[in-house]
């Protein structure tokens, strides 16, 4: 499988990365080179093999069902590019 200019633009859009046509053109051979390399995995017989989910056996722990937000709103907002009235502010999303 390989990618073309249109596919690269589509992936960039999915990844929310603004790219120019020239950048997309440059990425086509780069990505195809990497995809060509990883494609060799197709040779491996994986019949009956389960995909890896955890490298070290470890059971998921349950915690008490209580609020643990830490009551640290101001700390959470401290690094926000724009914080207003105790909220993250973003450009208008509804008309």
């Amino acid at each position: 499988m390989s990618v073309d200019h249109a596919t690269v633009k589509k992936i960039a859009s999915l990844a929310r990365l603004a790219i120019s046509d020239a950048e997309a053109d440059a990425l086509v051979p780069e990505l195809n080179n990497i995809l060509g390399f990883v494609e060799q995995l197709g040779e491996v017989d994986v019949t009956g093999v389960e995909p890896m989910t955890a490298v070290i056996p470890n059971k998921l722990r349950l915690r008490e069902d209580v609020v643990t937000d830490g009551n640290v709103r101001d700390k959470v907002l401290a690094n926000a590019p724009q914080a207003e009235h105790g909220f993250f502010a973003v450009p208008k999303v509804i008309e």
Binding site: L41, P51, P81, V90
Partner: protein
């Protein structure tokens, strides 16, 4: 008086306890070395006041007989660990100016053990790279130079390249690193120091800027094996805030150090003899085998048949996880925001991410997004995770006939900056020996084995069974004692 910056962590600890010098003298000596080494670009932020404050606390603790395990020891912190009140960037423009309001678990453990911080160490951007050439804050220059008389700037390895350069240049006695596919071990090998990636889950990932969560693991880098053991036991430990943290006691690895390998079987995986490997690497490997035999180990040949597929599997799994992890950088909650005039929310996301990420990070996000996208998920991602199962199974089978594995750490000595940058794949191939243990979550360490013909360090890698950091450290110690590696870079910076 000895130069305090030549001392190891253990020697600083002992000398300070005996009253041969004060912690403040140690911190001042290292602060001076840091300040005089701007040419290496190893630090993104220097924190001399942090080191001095910890030193003063240590001097006070000594007078009150309340010493902590790392009292008097200043260290370097890879700038991937969130440090409260100190800028944490992951070497990215995206996080430039980000000042965490919390402390990562690993850095908190180290500070609670009495360590001071000399600064935040440069790295490959978001830990993606093998040469420290992807940092937004510029390349780290290795203190090592080839003996051919040329002055080519060499790579300190990556992604923990600031850590490796700083330790080998005596800017800090030890530092934290993180390892996703070799980011502790390969830079350690390139700079003639030691570094261990523990079993996945030993060190909490909480507060470490995430790259590929199923692979990321913190570990120490230092000039010898004992210092790695001391650091690791002050970094590791169960943390309920990391869902993959192992709920196990932290062993006393330093007390358990022994270079007597009688009764240990060391496997030599034949698949690691790759085509085109320089003869010097092969000779180093043979030397390592001889060292371990001399220490009493029995050498056995083993097979890890899927080794060849580790790198392609890694370059699907790691970018896939990265594309997901890095989705958090949206210009809303922290980090950079780029809001073009009249832009809506979606445009803001795309503009912010285009401006905030470097080329290699974007490349990996693109690959990761592609292999996870509808129609390709099974062919790439699921297939890679199945191959990962086979790679882990290879190791499990090997453990039936051996206790440890010995391999070279990297397929070459340090290369010159710029030499491999044009071809991402050539750069990726540097991780060929380190990636398999990462995919299987196994503890693995690099120790210096010798020098190549150009006078550059070469590393040997020891891989152990899950949770057998002690076995790995002990074999590392056996090599260290026999290699007698004492080379250090001549000071030019």
């Amino acid at each position: 008086m000895t130069d305090l910056t030549d001392l190891s962590v253990a020697q600083i600890r002992e000398g300070f306890r005996k009253g041969e010098f004060t912690a403040r003298e140690v911190a001042e000596a290292f602060n001076a070395n840091v300040a005089a080494a701007k040419a290496l670009n190893a630090f993104i932020v220097e924190t001399p006041d942090h080191a001095l404050a910890a030193a003063d606390a240590a001097d006070k603790a000594r007078s009150e007989d309340k010493l902590l395990p790392l009292s008097g020891v200043p260290i370097g912190m890879k700038d991937l660990f969130c440090t409260q009140g100190v800028q944490t960037t992951a070497a990215s423009h995206m996080l430039e100016g980000f000042v965490p309001t919390y402390e990562s678990t690993v850095s908190r453990h180290l500070f609670e053990a009495g360590a001071g911080m000399l600064g935040k160490l440069n790295l490959d951007q978001f830990a993606m790279g093998s040469s420290n050439e992807t940092s937004y804050f510029g390349n780290v220059i290795s203190p090592w130079r080839r003996s051919d008389g040329g002055n080519a700037d060499l790579a300190p390895g990556g992604s923990s390249g600031g850590s490796s350069a700083a330790i080998s240049a005596r800017l800090c006695p030890a530092a934290t690193g993180t390892d996703t596919g070799g980011s502790i071990r390969q830079p350690a090998a390139f700079t003639g120091i030691s570094g261990i990636k523990p079993t996945y889950g030993r060190c909490s990932r909480w507060g470490i800027v995430a790259f590929a969560s199923s692979l990321d693991q913190a570990g120490p880098m230092a000039r010898d094996v004992r210092d790695c053991a001391i650091m690791l036991q002050n970094m590791a430990g169960f943390d309920p805030r990391d869902a993959t943290s192992l709920d196990l006691p932290v062993p006393e690895w330093e007390a358990g150090l022994s270079s007597d390998l009688k009764g240990k079987r060391v496997g030599i995986p034949k698949e690691y003899r790759v085509d085109g490997m320089p003869s010097e690497i092969d000779a180093l490997w043979e030397q390592g085998i001889a060292f371990l035999k001399d220490a009493g180990a029995e050498i056995v040949e083993v097979s890890l048949p899927h080794t060849h597929y580790a790198l392609p599997a890694y370059y699907i799994i790691a970018p896939a996880e990265a594309s997901s992890n890095l989705a958090r950088y949206d210009g809303v909650r922290y980090g950079l925001r780029d809001l073009p005039d009249g832009a809506g929310l979606q445009d803001m996301y795309a503009a912010t991410r285009a401006a905030g990420f470097g080329a290699e990070v974007k490349r990996r996000i693109m690959i990761g997004t592609y292999v996870l996208s509808a129609g390709f998920y099974d062919a790439y991602y699921t297939q890679a995770q199945k191959v990962r199962t086979l790679i882990a199974r290879d190791f499990e089978r090997a453990w039936e006939s051996c206790d440890l594995l010995l391999t070279p750490t990297a397929p070459s000595a340090a290369f010159a900056l710029g030499e491999k940058q044009a071809d991402p794949l050539a750069m990726y191939l540097n991780d060929v020996f380190t990636v398999p243990a990462s995919l299987a979550g196994l503890p693995a360490m690099s120790v210096p084995g010798g020098l190549d013909a150009q006078g550059l360090p070469l590393g040997l890698q020891i891989i152990g069974k899950p949770l057998d950091e002690q076995g790995v450290l002990n074999a590392g110690l056996a090599i260290e004692e026999r290699a007698g590696f004492s080379a250090r870079p001549g000071k030019w910076w």
